[in-house]
């Protein structure tokens, strides 16, 4: 059973009153075979969290369990995990074969067994012809595959990925993403994947953990996170272009924001100071005069299959995504923005949490 349990995990640098907490109590239950992506901006603590699971960082508070066993004080090599690093971390003076075999050699696995496992991994990752080469003779993508091969041969309970795609160019990234998906489908090993790229998160995750400033803002499937973001942070972090957010006073079917009174297609869940969210693809534009929100168009981006319209509702910048088949407005036009009730997201202005 390769489940992972995080319970109130805390990380502090330094001790005593000057201690600097970087992770403020994260709890999550990850089941066997799950592919979990930890996503968030730089500095949010996602790598630190991953490294605590790996045993490369000390845990200041709370517990981490792998396969039902608390591993707070267990050495990395005893946790039955394997890790793929952002910079590949391949041993430069060893061949591809030796790089993959190193961990097994230390564990005193018999030579035939080592050979079998390495060959199998090489086959899955198409590294067969490169087994005797040194890392410096390989391309970035190939090196990353060797790093994954090294993880696979150990047949661990858990795979840990620390931003493995960040050093690859765009095309290679997309390709490797598919390979990782394929790998998971084939091997089914519980995986924790850290990235700052929300596209990677959305495409790879079965569930994802969205982190910000050391806190877990939401854990859920890509669908849940996209359609029911738990906080304004998640709402604006996931989805590109980001969700439009406007702060104001809600009162029944009216929303007063920055001097403008906007009519709402349905009543707000409660009165008071709220943040209203609307995704760019959920808005429609029509000629000025119709019932809706007035939008002054400031810029247009033609992206081939779709168009992005940037404009202002009052003072707030709004982005609207239009299908390319529709006739776009012109810069300077005043148009009306409408939407339907189910596309409105409401957040408490003080707590930024979903209402």
């Amino acid at each position: 059973m390769a489940s992972i349990t995080l319970k109130d995990v805390v990380k502090r640098y330094g001790t005593g009153p000057k201690a600097n907490p970087v992770i403020h109590g994260v709890s999550a239950e990850i089941s066997d075979h799950e592919f979990i992506v930890i996503v968030g901006p730089s500095g949010c603590g996602k790598s630190t969290l991953l490294r605590m699971v790996a045993g490369l960082e000390e845990i200041s508070g709370g517990t981490i369990s792998i396969g039902g066993r608390v591993v707070n004080d267990v050495e990395p090599s005893e946790r039955d995990i394997a890790m793929v690093f952002q910079n590949y971390a391949l041993y430069p003076h060893m061949s591809v074969f030796d790089n993959m075999a190193y961990g097994l050699k230390i564990a005193k696995v018999p030579i035939d067994e080592i050979k079998t496992r390495v060959d199998k991994a090489a086959k899955i990752l198409e590294l067969g012809p490169y087994l005797q080469r040194k890392p410096r003779e390989l391309s970035g993508g190939q090196r990353q595959r060797v790093a994954m091969g090294r993880a696979i041969v150990r047949q661990p309970q858990v795979f840990l990925f620390d931003e493995p795609l960040s050093n690859l160019d765009a095309k290679l990234r997309a390709q490797t993403r598919l390979e990782i998906q394929k790998l998971h489908a084939e091997l089914g090993v519980t995986s924790l994947f850290v990235t700052h790229d929300q596209v990677e998160a959305m495409t790879l995750a079965q569930r994802m953990i969205v982190m910000n400033a050391g806190r877990m803002e939401q854990i859920g499937t890509p669908d849940e996170v996209y359609h029911r973001p738990a906080t304004t942070f998640v709402a604006s972090f996931i989805g590109s272009p980001p969700m439009n957010l406007i702060t104001g006073q809600a009162d029944g079917s009216r929303f007063v924001a920055a001097g403008q009174t906007l009519a709402l297609p349905s009543a707000a869940p409660r009165a008071g100071e709220m943040i209203l969210g609307l995704r760019p693809e959920h808005a429609e534009l029509s000629r000025n005069g119709a019932a809706g929100w007035p939008l002054k168009v400031e810029a247009l981006e033609m992206l081939g299959a779709e168009r992005l319209v940037y404009g202002r509702v009052g003072e707030t910048l709004f982005t609207v995504r239009l299908d390319a088949t529709l006739v776009p407005p012109k810069v300077g036009d005043l148009v009306t923005l409408t939407t339907t009730p189910e596309h409105l997201h409401w957040f408490d202005a003080a707590t930024t949490k979903r209402v």
Partner: protein, 283 residues
Amino acid sequence: MVERRATLGLLAHAVMILGMLIVAFPLYLAFVASTHTAQEIVQAPMPLLPGSHFWDNYSAALTGHGGGAGSNAPVGRMMWVSLVTALVIAFGKIAVSLLSAFALVYFRFPFRNLFFWAIFVTLMLPVEVRILPTYKVISDLGMLNSYAGLTIPLIASATATFLFRQFFLTVPEELVEAARIDGAGPMRFFWDILLPLSKTSIAALFVIQFIYGWNQYLWPLLATTSEDMYPVVVGIKRMIAGGDSGNEWNIVMATAIMAMIPPAIVVIFMQRWFVKGLVDTEK
């Protein structure tokens, strides 16, 4: 470079050749002198082309049958002493320093900073500054006239430790982490990963320490009194004690040439690593 002017190119070559000549002249002269008889040299000016006594002179020097007014110790024996000294110093220093640098960089332990500074201090003071007390220590330990006495005090400076430390600091951290996850303990990491990566530094330090050991003069002067434990650089000076006409300059020069060969071989063959390592690590 940037301009293609012929004159500048010619000037560059001219300067280089001049430089080379100045550097090479004493060496050439020494070689020429080592192939003539003593009389031919003493009659000024000495001939500027090689003579015919190559084998006579060199074999006389090696076996100690020079017959000059200065020391006549067999050069063969002295070369051996120099060789052993240089090799022991080079290997000894490298081995000891690899271990200390490893401890200083990859472990956390109380007083670590203290040890670091203590070792760093030794960088600053060469043996010449503490010759007499060090002599007394050696003498008290009964290490005079021995290889141990010639070599161990010279292993005491921490140049190599410092250089290895600088190098270790440039090894990417992920390699250590990957090794930890692979289950490698510290010594395993040291042997399987750190050492292979340090090859260039080790090669460069070998050249530097070999030459340092081979060239030692003042310390052996004190630490040995018997002729059969003199390194060749000490022996050669003793050979010119007889005054200009009393010395057998041909033998002296033959000795000089022989004394230069092992270090020159080491430098020339390991040139690539040595130059890279010296400059990269000394900074």
